[in-house]
């Protein structure tokens, strides 16, 4: 290059300034740097807040993020920690937890209750814990909240058999009750496969009821035991009041009819009762890197205690966004910290090994640490905080910043080897290399700065901080590092001395790769052609798929991940879209359309679905109940009751004769009926004493209660916030009276394609839908767009700066050729390599690092080539080799991380930088040999 470019002239001026300060006032320079870095370090550890709330990293301009903020103000948080309790036993098919029986469900509820009690000791961490829906509050409207199919079955069942139940409801007695049970059994037996559960509950309830009645009557009999025939059961009968038996039976039936959704105590069961959930609003500490750590760790520790005492045969774990975020942050931060540290250690080690020297590499690493500290100070001044994504800047600076140090050290060592003093070597290094350092640094920084203009706040701040960090790193390497060298390296060493002391091998190692000699132009062109084809193929068939499933990023064996996946495969209650309406008419209209969509699993709101239609169906049943005659006091007719019990028993026997299974189920009822029949036979009218009277009174009360409940269920009052459970009101009614509608997707929302389909569909109906599930989509898209945008901006910035520097399209193309080729090869490897590694939210960060290192290597090599000095190219290639190897090995460590996202980041960086190295040292020299031929005056 005969005439210096404007940039080169500017660099020379800056370098003179650098040299003047580093050589003139080395102690002052180092002192200032240490003070600034220490201040920055202090701020990082004690004062610099870290934004870990994902929402704060989003694009605040997005309408859905604004809507979400509004929702939280009106309705509270929509992200809950979810306790999931299941049976340890699994179904043979599908591996889902087994459906629990009544006792199992009680034990599951015991675990949940105990956990909630523990959490209540920390209201500061868990301001709200929801473990039950108080159906008692909803009793009068409970039918309306049944799923439509179950509602219709129940209503039709009630409507059809109401006439035959009149006897029991109007004249309660043992005989009318037996007739009632007979009717119910016949009707229930006619129902389909799905209602088998109802029938089983019915039979179980009947058996218990009969046992209780029999117990009462036998107590009566024991008064005159002498009159008992031998066949009648004697001894103490475990007696339970009819009321409690019926209450339990009613709970069971409601639970069964609602497919496990309506537990009588309001416990939140899902998936036919397989899963019991508790929702806890957990407070995060925005000042902590892992904001939910305290809450989730406390909740998990209490759960472990509870499980140790109550959890035999059960499994329990935590799911929901706080648990997922906690787990991700824990493994992610652990892996990133470990990765950064190991990278730093390995880089330093390789540095030391590469230069066979301890002091210089350590000084370079110290310098790097100082620049990190100063960057923190700058962040504090410019941004005021760090964020979850921007924290990656440390790794970027270690990876790219160390390159500057390696280049400076390589050149410095060469000049020192030539016998120059430290000051002379520094001066020579700066004049020969400083320009390339500044150019490479500024170009890479420009690439990072370009991310500042993207819409995603997390990435935008990362770009700003990393760019600024690199701009700090360059003067550090050009002023502070030379100052440190000047202060520490006072030894006068001649080349001869060095050769005598260390041997010639050291010299060979220090020269690195010699300039490529293209002796066979045709072979070189063929090589370039093959490389071009390979790269083009890699680009055209490479990996462009982005896996947006956040669960796939998590540690595979992670607890929260496992439980969240269980929710996902059964009934995911934690991910939904939210729409807000100002009035019910709007809500109902939208809900109707959403419910008819193939992509919507269900919707939830304050009001039951299709309330009016349900009310219309209930109207005739309600009318029939209203027309019931006033309840009469009636007396059990022993003979009539006996006849009814006989017939009921024969009915049961008939049902039992249908199959072995039916017989097994009905055996208990039949036995109870036979016993009751005999007891009734033993009781004569003259024994009709206190026991029978008490039974009559109890039956009367039961009938009265059943009438009241039936009337209340089939003639529900108008619903308003006053007669609805507070849980529903809290969840779905805003402070200003607005109404929330939750929309659950039928397909897997963690799959980007299915999520996109869902979002498109629901947006067609409710354009303003938002919520975590929509945020996945929008923010995921925004993040991907931002990355692509920043990559494009970075490329433009690099090309412009290179053009400005070189004033040559050819040189510019040659500089970026290793980067372009290595990215292409990486895309191909990701797709067709031994592992299909898709892009994801974590490994996207590899792109800016690859761009930085790739461009930097290109600049150093092309500039060294253009200098016409073979030793300069050797030094540059050695620096490229060392810096790339250090970074490759350092990041390779990340590939062994538990966190799948971090691991894939390590994998991509390892191969990306390796490809970049190969392209820089093999392809670029060949390209230079063909397209920028140079004759060296002296190659030795």
């Amino acid at each position: 290059m005969n005439r210096l470019s404007l940039l080169d002239r500017a660099f020379r001026w800056v370098l003179r300034l650098c040299l003047a300060s580093s050589l003139g006032f080395p102690k002052t320079v180092v002192s200032i740097a240490v003070i600034l870095a220490a201040w920055g370090g202090y701020l990082y550890f004690f004062d610099l807040p870290i934004l870990t709330d994902r929402d704060q990293l989003l694009n605040s301009e997005l309408e859905l993020n604004r809507l979400r903020q509004v929702y939280r103000e009106k309705f509270g948080d929509d992200r809950y920690l979810v306790l999931v309790v299941t049976l340890a036993e699994k179904d043979s098919e599908g591996g889902l937890p087994s459906v629990p029986g009544t006792d199992d469900r009680d034990r599951m509820k015991q675990v949940a209750r105990a956990w909630v009690d523990q959490l209540s000791s920390r209201p500061d961490l868990f301001p709200k814990v929801v473990d039950r829906m108080d159906w008692a509050e909803l009793r009068s409207s409970v039918l309306l909240y049944l799923p439509e199919e179950d509602f219709k079955a129940t209503t039709s069942f009630l409507g059809e058999h109401m006439p035959s139940w009149r006897g029991w409801l109007e004249q309660p007695s043992l005989q009318s009750l037996a007739a009632f049970a007979d009717e119910v059994l016949v009707a229930a037996a006619a129902t389909g496969e799905q209602e088998r559960g109802n029938l089983e509950v019915l039979i179980g309830g009947l058996e218990e009821f009969l046992r209780s009645v029999n117990g009462q009557l036998q107590s009566e009999l024991r008064v005159e035991e002498a009159r008992l025939p031998g066949s009648v059961r004697s001894g103490t009968v475990q007696q339970e009041s009819l009321h409690s038996v019926v209450e339990r039976f009613r709970r069971e039936l409601v639970f069964e009819m609602s497919r496990g959704r309506m537990d009588a105590e309001g416990a939140l069961f899902f998936a036919e009762g397989r899963i019991l959930t508790v929702f806890a609003d957990v407070r995060g500490d925005p000042g902590r890197q892992n904001r939910y750590a305290e809450g989730v760790e406390f909740a998990q520790a209490r759960l472990d205690e509870v499980m140790a005492s109550h959890g035999t045969g059960l499994e329990a774990g935590l799911a929901g966004f706080p648990a997922l975020e906690y787990e991700e942050m824990r493994t992610g931060l652990k892996d990133i910290s470990r990765g950064t540290l190991i990278t730093l250690v390995l880089v330093t080690g390789l540095f030391i090994w590469g230069f066979r020297s301890l002091i210089r590499p350590l000084l370079a690493v110290l310098c790097l640490c100082l620049s990190l500290g100063m960057t923190c100070l700058l962040v504090w001044i410019l941004v005021g905080h760090l964020n979850l994504i921007a924290m990656v800047f440390a790794i970027i600076m270690v990876a790219v910043g160390i390159d500057f140090a390696i280049h400076v050290t390589t050149h410095y060592e060469r000049y020192r080897w030539e016998g120059r003093s430290a000051a002379e070597a520094i001066e020579s290094t700066m004049f020969s290399l400083g320009g390339a350092i500044w150019l490479g640094g500024i170009t890479t920084a420009a690439a990072f700065f370009s991310a500042y203009f993207t819409e995603f706040r997390g990435l935008s701040e990362l770009g700003l901080i990393s760019g600024a960090g690199l701009l700090i790193c360059i003067p550090c390497m050009c002023i502070v590092y030379p100052a440190l060298l000047q202060l520490t390296d006072r030894e006068e060493v001649s080349p001869a001395d060095r050769l005598l002391k260390k041997g010639a091998g050291r010299y060979q190692l220090s020269v690195g790769v010699r300039p490529w000699k293209v002796t066979n132009l045709a072979a070189a062109r063929a090589l370039i052609l093959v490389a071009a084809v390979l790269v083009a193929l890699s680009y055209s068939c490479g990996q462009y798929h982005v896996d947006t499933n956040l669960l796939n990023l998590q540690e595979e064996d992670g607890e929260a991940n496992r439980w969240q996946r269980l929710l996902l495969t059964t009934d995911d209650v934690a991910t939904f879209g939210i729409a807000i309406f100002q009035n019910r008419a709007e809500l109902e209209e939208a809900r109707e359309r959403l419910e008819s969509s193939e992509l919507v699993r269900r919707t939830e709101s304050l009001y039951p679905l299709h309330e009016q239609m349900k009310r219309n169906l209930l109207e005739p049943v309600c009318a029939a109940v209203e027309q019931l005659e006033p309840l009469e006091e009636s007396v059990t007719d022993l003979s009539a009751s006996r006849r009814q019990v006989w017939n009921l028993r024969q009915r049961i026997r008939r049902f039992g004769s249908r199959s072995q299974e039916a017989q097994t189920h009905l055996k208990g009822v039949e036995t109870e009926l036979a016993s009751l029949y005999r007891t009734l036979g033993a009781l004569s009218s003259e024994h009709h004493g206190a026991g029978v009277n008490s039974l009559d009174r109890e039956l009367h009360d039961l009938s009265a209660e059943m009438r009241t409940e039936l009337r209340s269920a089939v003639c529900p009052p108008l619903l308003d916030s006053g007669n609805l459970p507070s849980l529903l009101v809290d969840r779905f009614l805003g402070k200003d009276g607005s109404l929330a509608l939750f929309v659950y997707a039928k397909k897997n929302v963690w799959n980007q394609d299915e999520l996109e389909e869902f979002v498109d569909e629901v947006r067609g109906i409710v354009p303003d839908i938002f919520g975590e599930v929509i945020s996945f989509y929008e923010n995921g898209r925004s993040l991907i767009n931002s990355f692509l945008q920043s990559a494009l901006y970075a490329l433009l910035a690099i090309v412009l700066l290179l053009l400005l520097w070189s004033r040559s399209i050819r040189t510019t193309l040659l500089v970026i050729s290793p980067l372009t080729a290595s990215v292409g090869l990486l895309l191909g490897l990701m797709k067709w390599g031994p592992y299909d590694v898709p892009w994801n939210y974590a490994n996207f960060f590899a792109l800016p690092i690859l761009i930085g290192i790739g461009v930097d290597s290109g600049i150093h090599l092309v500039r060294a080539w253009n200098s016409g000095i073979p030793l300069a190219f050797s030094s540059a290639s050695k620096a490229v080799l060392l810096s790339s190897l250090t970074t490759t090995i350092g990041f390779g460590v990340l590939a062994t991380s538990d966190h799948v996202g971090v691991s894939s980041l390590g994998y991509i960086l390892f191969w990306g930088i390796l490809f970049s190295l190969i392209c820089s040292l093999l392809l670029l020299p060949t390209l230079l040999g063909v397209f920028a031929r140079r004759t060296y005056e002296s190659e030795d």
Partner: protein, 294 residues
């Protein structure tokens, strides 16, 4: 190269019209629904509502070996209902009592072929019994004029011609009335005989076996009379559309029912251990009696 053969235009039109005619002709535009009829007189669970699941399973099983599209199942528990379905729906298969088969045979409206018979509760032949309380003095000799109750629907002709001997005929030697609740009849007979209108009950084999298994019932009853051995319920192919290959295939399928998982489920619902070849000797005797009587 061979020249393309072109169909002249008018012929095209003729073909189109013929096809249109064929498709719109009565009986051709929509395929006739093939089905089967299950008849069980006097069994309240033999109703479309209670037996829906059974019919669905049976349709799947019966449809498997024959190429008639999805089969539809009907069920009847009274002679009137059975007759209505036979008249309106023209089932191609009948699973029912031998009396119904003999009546259809006598009418000679359609060709029929007996495939197998249906044992239930271990009984491979039918035997009707008259039962009365053990403590009563009732016997065949003093039954004249007494009231006998049986299930709510029965085939009076079959009972008169085949079940009861000429010397002991319902309506002549005793009164026979239906009852909607045989269990209740037994209760009245045993517990409050003074309130019971009937003196004895007529039970078919299945019902008799059912009560035999009840230690609260059978020890209190005595058998006053029992019929000769009679044929069991039959499975009969009805209509002229059956080919002998289809008949054989279906017969094999039915005989292997207990070895088929779906078939075993159906058999359990029918309280049967498996279908067996028809006892033609008993059937022939019943046929002779049925035809001989006026």
């Amino acid at each position: 190269m061979r020249a393309k053969t072109r169909i002249p235009l008018p012929l095209n039109w003729v073909l189109v019209l013929a096809l249109g005619f064929y498709l719109t002709a009565p009986g051709l535009s929509a395929p006739v629904e093939s089905g089967f009829l299950v008849v069980k007189y006097g069994d309240e669970s033999a109703s479309p509502e209670l037996a829906a699941e059974f019919l669905e399973k049976l349709a799947t099983f019966l449809g498997a070996p024959i190429d008639r599209g999805p089969l539809k199942g009907w069920i009847a528990n009274t002679p009137a209902e059975a007759a209505r379905i036979l008249r309106d729906a023209h089932p191609i298969l009948l699973l029912g009592p031998p009396g119904l088969y003999l009546e259809l045979e006598l009418q000679q409206q359609l060709p029929m072929e007996v495939l197998v018979q249906v044992p239930r509760m271990g009984a491979t032949s039918e035997r009707y019994v008259l039962v009365a309380p053990k403590k009563s003095e009732l016997s065949v000799e003093n039954l004249r004029g007494e009231l006998v109750r049986t299930v709510f629907a029965f085939d009076r002709t079959y009972l008169e011609r085949v079940v009861f001997p000429a010397s002991f005929q319902p309506g002549v030697d005793f009164q026979l009335e239906p009852s909607t609740n045989m269990a209740d009849e037994i209760f009245l007979l045993l517990e409050v005989p003074e309130e019971s209108a009937a003196s004895a009950l007529l039970l078919d084999t299945e019902l008799a076996l059912f009560f035999q298994q009840d230690d609260m019932v059978w020890p209190e009853l005595k058998v006053v009379w029992q019929s000769e051995e009679l044929p069991r319920d039959l499975v009969v192919a009805v209509g002229s559309e059956w080919t002998s290959t289809e008949i054989q295939r279906l017969k094999r399928h039915l005989l292997g029912m207990k070895d088929d998982p779906g078939g075993a489920e159906i058999l359990e619902l029918m309280s049967s251990d498996g279908l067996v070849p028809c006892n033609f000797e008993l059937l022939e005797r019943a046929r002779a009696k049925y035809r001989r009587s006026p």
